[in-house]
């Protein structure tokens, strides 16, 4: 009995060193003690997005760091080529959903952790699903997916009337990414640190070859592969879409690329290069994934417990020529359409869309003329092109309150022309509209609402 108790206490010995003792680098509100560890284990819920190279590492690291309530979401099935680094998977797992196998393996090895797998696309889950987690950890490989999760997390963010973020509505994200020897880890606290969209310009444009080069003057193996993939496929399979996950399709592209390369005397077309070029696969190195995941897991622990200051806010790791790491503090885009507060407008429920557009022209913070009005997925009024203007014109005489579904408050985007230093420029703005006299308006507390 005593042995068992000793085992349990030694199990969290290292975690306890962080959570039970005061320190100089902690925040002023950090309250060390066993309750903090218990709270972490009992209440903190973390979602791991992606169960690939980073996701496997993240799940393992978080489970071993004391988190007990984890979910993992991934739409992919295990492939043979994953096995060199996605260490939770075995040969007999090939073809099974990554999320399910990863969750099972970590639960087998780490007692008392509960991991719920979700074998689906991130878009398949509704917002309530995401709101259930305290922190979202990202192990993704695409800009699209990051951008999606970022907009989900930012959609929970609310601002008070002084444009300060409401703390209860901040959904922290920890984002990791690797590419060969390089990687990054960042902490995103929507409303406080820059969101993914604030810094999307950091990503270099994807390398795309000119089509005419592919068609006329191929010089590299990649040119030959892209020719087979983008031009020859359509020529031969009229109308049939190319599926990168269909191995027969890939074999066909490979065979055509080889023919093309032979014709032009270009060496180097292989099946794996074909996969790499067509699916835009970036080489992955297991140890880079381990380093980045470790940083992400630790930041997740720091956000959840406050046991140390968090990364502020963007770590880059480059092991390509020697080793370089750097932490850069990026700044928020205060006008960010995704995480920014936008301009707060208090309106009467009777205001028509036309009157609203006139108001934008006169509002001192906006001075926006010729505005088009966008609400969620609907275009309430479009100034151009004429065909859309005509289709949306009838909305002008309707009350805005009715057009946005009679809710007490919502986000509306407007774009039009503003005068900047005497020059007309186009401007896209986010507005928070609140209707007077509707219940719950003045009450920003999360307990309110319907």
């Amino acid at each position: 009995m005593a042995d068992a108790a000793a085992l349990v206490s030694s199990r969290w010995r290292d975690l306890d060193k962080l959570l039970l003792r005061p320190g100089n680098l902690v925040g002023q509100n950090f309250e060390p003690g066993p309750e903090l560890r218990d709270d972490l284990q009992e209440y903190a819920k973390v979602l791991v997005v992606g169960a690939g190279g980073l996701g496997c590492e993240l799940l393992k690291d978080l489970a071993l760091s004391g988190f007990r309530n984890l979910d993992v979401i991934d739409m992919d099935r295990i492939e043979v080529s994953n096995l060199n680094r996605q260490f939770l998977f075995r040969l007999q797992d090939v073809g099974k959903p990554k999320a399910e196998v990863a969750a099972k393996r970590v639960m087998e090895r780490v007692t008392s952790v509960n991991i719920v797998p979700h074998f689906c696309r991130i878009e398949d889950k509704d917002l309530e699903f995401y709101n259930d987690f305290n922190i979202i950890a990202l192990g993704l490989d695409s800009i699209e997916a990051r951008s999606y999760i970022n907009s989900v997390a930012c959609s929970f963010l609310e601002y008070d009337s002084e444009d300060n973020p409401c703390e209860d509505t901040i959904k922290p994200m920890v984002d990791g990414g690797t590419e060969g020897f390089k990687g990054h880890a960042r902490v995103i606290l929507p409303g406080i640190t820059p969101c993914f969209e604030c810094t999307i310009w950091l990503f270099p444009p994807q390398v795309k070859f000119p089509l005419c080069t592919l068609a006329e003057t191929p010089r590299t193996a990649a040119h030959c592969i892209e020719y087979a993939h983008l031009i020859k496929w359509d020529e031969v399979h009229s109308g049939k879409a190319f599926d990168p996950d269909d191995s027969e399709h890939m074999q066909w592209v490979y065979a055509e690329a080889v023919k093309r390369a032979d014709l032009f005397g270009i060496p180097g077309v292989t099946y794996s290069l074909t996969q790499g070029v067509v699916k835009n696969i970036i080489p992955a190195i297991a140890s880079t994934n381990a380093i980045i995941s470790a940083a992400c897991a630790l930041e997740t622990l720091k956000i959840a417990t406050g046991c140390s200051k968090t990364l502020s806010n963007y770590l880059t790791y480059n092991g390509l020529e020697g080793l370089h790491t750097k932490v850069t503090e990026f700044v928020k885009d205060k006008d960010c359409l995704v995480c920014g507060p936008g301009v707060l407008l208090e309106l009467d429920t009777s205001i028509t869309l036309q009157e609203f557009i006139t108001l934008l022209e006169e509002h001192p913070k906006l001075l926006l003329s010729k505005a088009s009005v966008l609400h969620r997925k609907k275009n309430l009024y479009m100034q151009a092109p004429p065909i859309l203007e005509e289709m949306t014109r009838s909305n002008l005489s309707l009350p805005l309150f009715d057009l946005i579904g009679q809710v007490s408050k919502d986000v509306v985007h407007v774009n039009g022309m503003t005068n900047k230093n005497g020059k007309k420029t186009s401007s896209l703005r986010k507005l928070r509209v609140i209707f007077k006299g509707i219940d719950g308006v003045s009450d920003m507390d999360t307990a309110g609402g319907a």
Binding site: G27, L127, E144, S151, K309, S312, L388, D410
Partner: protein, 200 residues
């Protein structure tokens, strides 16, 4: 910079504290607390905003028209019709389909020519060789720039960037013959072994 960091941290720790105070208070109902319909107003996802803003500022050349086959609320898929008012392709009607990715303008729209055309820079499958659609796309460009670029292809076909090799060779060697080939294709007929449906 320093001040900002301190503020950031204090907000963060207040947040953490509030999170755990609520945990203690609400116990197992943490998830209910976080998922209550508290933020009802603000929580729907909004995508494609910058693209829609782009569309609302379109200023098309008079030879171009835009059509939204899926109605006013799907602006991510649309068609552009070009009727060149000069050059080899005068009198022709050419339809392009546009598919705008969710991360536009970080990535260019996918554009295909739906009209089969005898053109040095457009192949018979509708692939278009226009630099700003692929290698030279920049987020500062927009739909308007692309439409101008496409329109330009019809007034200034370029035999130095061939996608239809034969058409480019003819344009380079014998512009008179190229002109008559274009007329024949647009009227509906064969150029070499290839049949072109009428598009005038």
């Amino acid at each position: 910079m320093k001040l900002e960091q301190t503020e950031t941290l204090s907000i963060l720790f207040n947040y953490i504290l509030s999170m755990f105070e609520k945990n203690r208070r609400l116990g197992a109902h943490l998830s209910i607390m976080f998922s209550s319909a508290a933020f009802s107003g603000f929580r729907k996802l909004i995508f494609g905003i910058s693209h829609r803003a782009d569309i609302s500022e379109l200023n098309l050349p008079k030879t171009c028209a835009i059509l939204f086959p899926n109605g006013k609320d799907d602006l991510m898929n649309f068609e552009v019709t070009i009727r060149p008012d000069e050059g080899y392709y005068l009198g022709g009607i050419f339809v392009f389909s546009f598919k705008v990715p969710p991360i536009y303008p970080h990535e260019a729209p996918k554009v295909k020519c739906k009209t089969k055309v005898y053109h040095p820079n457009i192949d018979l499958e509708g692939n278009v060789c226009l630099n700003i659609l692929r290698e030279d796309w920049k987020p500062v460009l927009n739909i308007n720039t692309i439409i101008f670029g496409l329109s330009h292809l019809f007034t200034q076909p370029n035999h130095e960037d061939p996608l239809n090799h034969d058409a480019a060779a003819v344009l380079g060697d014998n512009p008179k013959m190229f002109e008559s080939n274009v007329r024949r294709a647009m009227a509906g007929g064969y150029v070499g072994q290839t049949f072109f449906p009428r598009c005038m």
